[in-house]
């Protein structure tokens, strides 16, 4: 495997890959772990990638599998990770407090975080296909045709799921 080629490739796609993962998992720490796995799989698979599929479609498939694998871990590892994440968040929160840039009240911190990701909070409550079509279309920037191919779904069905998802997300924005 050509290290230089891999380096160029991941530099070009790192934001897309991270966003693909981060919008589908609950924490930044999990997203970073999964991203490492995705990048290793890209490294291992780059020679075999023939380029007949769109490169972002190929990345999406790898990311989707890695996310699924990540959440198949034994429960004790997931709990360990949650504990680690809480510690990191607590540390970050203390740092912000010292800066005076963050409110002391945990409720306000939570509200600020929810305000920041209003749409995604709503998207996370949607049924699986509404959520997935929404993320593919608006977060990952795939075309309707690409989504239809990736999810092996009729394009009108994709539109129906998207329509419902946009309505729900729009209400959240208006509210």
């Amino acid at each position: 495997m050509d290290h230089e080629k891999f380096g160029t490739f991941i530099n070009e796609h790192k934001q897309d890959i991270f966003l693909m993962i981060r919008t589908r998992v609950n924490s930044t720490e999990d997203a970073q772990d999964i991203m490492q796995d995705v990048l290793l799989k890209i490294y291992q698979g780059m020679d075999k990638f023939r380029g007949d599929a769109h490169v972002r479609t190929w990345i999406y498939k790898i990311a989707r599998n890695s996310i699924a694998d990540y959440y198949k871990r034994p429960w004790w590892r997931i709990f360990k990770k949650i504990k680690e994440n809480r510690n990191i968040e607590a540390q970050e929160s203390r740092t912000h407090d010292h800066d005076g840039s963050m409110a002391d009240n945990p409720e306000e911190i939570l509200m600020a975080s929810e305000r920041k990701n209003q749409i995604l909070s709503e998207v996370n409550r949607m049924p699986r296909l509404e959520k997935e079509t929404f993320l593919l279309r608006f977060m990952d920037g795939f075309s309707l045709k690409q989504i239809s191919d990736m999810l092996d779904m009729n394009i009108n069905t994709v539109k129906t799921h998207l329509y419902r998802a946009v309505k729900k997300a729009g209400k959240q924005m208006a509210g």
């Binding site: 991270f18 490492q36 209003q118 995604l120 729009g170």
Partner: protein, 185 residues
């Protein structure tokens, strides 16, 4: 002005436009693209989406951490491959060699020894003669098939009427043979 207001597409049409701008009716699309109010809705939507995307952006610090971890793993893997390749190849060849040996050399395991004894056979012989009982019936019911190859059995068969089928006293014979039967299974 009023006329223009009535032309505003309803919420459902604007939603449909957000999903697929090319999929809505041409007049709806043209209206949305030209009407400042409708266009504002679309712009607000796009801005909100962009803000969400931006809030999740991979920071350079996070990227550095990920990149370092990935390159470390790649290095580890490639060095492990270099070290272990000859070992793995030798192990694979050894296993292949053992497999070939197992498949080509015939089994040298001794045949299972007969579980019945000559004494047991002799008891059967005595019972059969004294009770005037069918030899083959006894053999079929009480002894393993290999009894037919035993010299003592062959002698017994040679001196008897093979078609003899008298079953008189069968229960008695069986009760006498029961302890032997346990030994001849």
């Amino acid at each position: 002005m009023n006329n223009e207001k009535t032309k505003h597409p309803d919420k459902d049409r604007i939603t449909a436009f957000l999903v697929d701008p090319d999929g809505v009716d041409t007049d709806v699309r043209l209206h949305i693209e030209k009407c400042p109010e409708c266009l504002q809705i679309v712009t607000d939507w796009n801005d909100s989406i962009k803000a969400e995307r931006d809030s999740l952006e991979l920071t350079s610090e996070k990227w550095r951490r990920i990149q370092t971890a990935v390159w470390d793993k790649i290095e580890q893997k490639s060095s492990r491959r270099t070290i272990f390749s000859p070992i793995l190849a030798t192990a694979a060849l050894s296993m292949l060699f053992v497999l070939i040996l197992t498949l080509t050399i015939p089994s040298r395991r001794p045949e299972t020894p007969e579980t019945y004894t000559t004494a047991a056979t002799q008891t059967v012989q005595q019972v059969a003669v004294s009770e005037d009982f069918s030899i083959f019936q006894l053999a079929d019911e009480l002894l393993p098939e290999s009894i037919y190859e035993e010299p003592v059995w062959l002698t017994l068969v040679a001196g008897n009427d093979l078609n003899h089928t008298d079953t008189e006293g069968l229960e008695e014979v069986l009760s006498i043979l029961n302890p032997i039967n346990g030994g001849v299974s």
